[in-house]
């Protein structure tokens, strides 16, 4: 395992797309120390900011408050990154495989436009997790993002495939312009959830304030949730899906687009139809 310890807080954001198993694996520690990072406009050596210890491998651990270190694990295809602390923007953006774990919080654009792999944030995340960058046609196209705490704006914007689970509260525009995939909101959402969604599924365990362009279609026990529940159970997440408590209100929309997305709101907590 390779261990990077942040020894000096960057004064301006540090861009470190070279912190990725794809780059470091197979390199001697001295070569890793000499990798480039960008401190604002200056190109620096990695060891100006990080102590490098341990053996080179696919397994990377980062210690310290890396909340100003951007682009960790950008486009990684394999291996594991564990961040003991916080992570900066674009964590695992364009990720194609492997695992990223964060014990603290992450910033915006976690797993943006990722195609595969697993990202797990224990704390809160910023906005645009699994989203499309501005102008892009599609956000995440595969893989899984699990956020233990709250999340910001536009989570899952334009996502096409894959799963996002947020245990805490998400802010506005969750699942904005969603084209597919599944978004689990275990802690509810603020407003405008599923705006402009074409396809895909948003599952919420809390009542949601929906846009006027979503229409109630029915209440039922979606059998497909059983398959998701089984998969999510392996990641330590449970969702109600059994016959006794697994009933959901189903809404479809967004009719302004017009789209064929669905929002499932768990009946257990939804005392009245929103």
């Amino acid at each position: 395992m390779l261990k990077l310890t942040l020894k000096q807080q960057p004064t301006v954001p540090l861009e470190a797309e070279n912190i990725s198993p794809d780059v470091t694996a197979g390199l001697a520690n001295d070569a890793i120390r000499a990798l480039h990072v960008h401190h604002g406009k200056r190109m620096c050596r990695l060891d100006e900011f990080f102590d490098v210890e341990g053996e080179t491998s696919d397994d990377l651990e980062i210690h310290g408050d890396a909340s100003r270190v951007k682009l960790i694990g950008r486009a990684m295809t394999r291996g594991r990154i564990k961040i003991v602390g916080n992570a900066g923007m674009h964590l695992g953006a364009y990720m194609k495989g492997g695992t990223i774990e964060v014990t603290g919080n992450a910033s915006d654009w976690v797993g943006a436009e990722m195609t595969n792999g697993l990202i797990r944030i224990a704390g809160n995340s910023g906005g645009q997790a699994g989203a499309a960058y501005r102008g892009s046609l599609a956000g995440m196209k595969g893989g899984t993002i699990i956020i233990g705490g709250n999340a910001g704006l536009e989570v899952g914007m334009r996502m096409k495939r894959g799963i996002i689970v947020v245990k805490g509260l998400v802010r506005d525009f969750a699942g904005l312009q969603m084209k597919g995939g599944t978004l689990f909101l275990l802690g509810g959402a603020e407003i405008r959830t599923g705006a402009w969604m074409f396809r895909g599924t948003i599952v919420s365990l809390h009542p949601l304030k929906l846009l006027p362009t979503f229409a109630a279609s029915c209440a039922y026990n979606p059998s497909f949730l059983g398959i998701y529940a089984k998969h999510l159970a392996t990641l330590g997440i449970s969702i109600p899906h059994e016959a006794k408590d697994g009933a959901y209100h189903r809404y479809c929309g967004d009719s302004s687009v017009p789209g064929h997305g669905e929002i499932l709101i768990w009946k257990g907590l939804a005392t009245s139809v929103p």
Partner: protein, 115 residues
């Protein structure tokens, strides 16, 4: 004193940028505006050609423009991530210079649009 009359002047107070204004100026201030709206009129009349402010300030003290320009260049070039911001009340020619400067100092450049 004779008045300078400028026809088809352009008002840059709001986004309409009306270009049919007539201005009468006495060398120091604009004394009359024709066709300008109330906002435009006060915009034109509130600015004079008087030397009301120091040419430049460094750390709050009056300084020459030359010294201020050198100080600015040092600060911006030495910074790791300088920011150039504003640009909505300056001319396109100045904006063009600002982009060129931002490139030279390796910074971020942004306008009011992002607000």
């Amino acid at each position: 004193m004779t008045l300078t009359i400028v026809k088809n002047a352009t008002c840059t107070f709001c986004g309409c940028v009306c270009d049919d204004i007539e201005l009468h100026a006495d060398g120091v201030r604009i004394v009359e505006t024709k066709r300008a709206c109330s906002l435009g009129e006060s915009w034109f009349k509130n600015h004079t050609a008087e030397h009301l402010y120091p040419d430049a300030l460094i750390d709050g003290h009056p300084a020459t423009v030359d010294d201020a320009v050198e100080a600015a260049a040092d600060y911006l070039l030495n910074a790791d991530m300088p920011l150039v911001y504003g640009m909505s009340n300056i001319t396109c020619e100045a904006q063009r210079e600002a982009v060129s400067l931002a490139e030279l100092i390796g910074g971020v450049i942004d306008s009011h649009t992002s607000l």
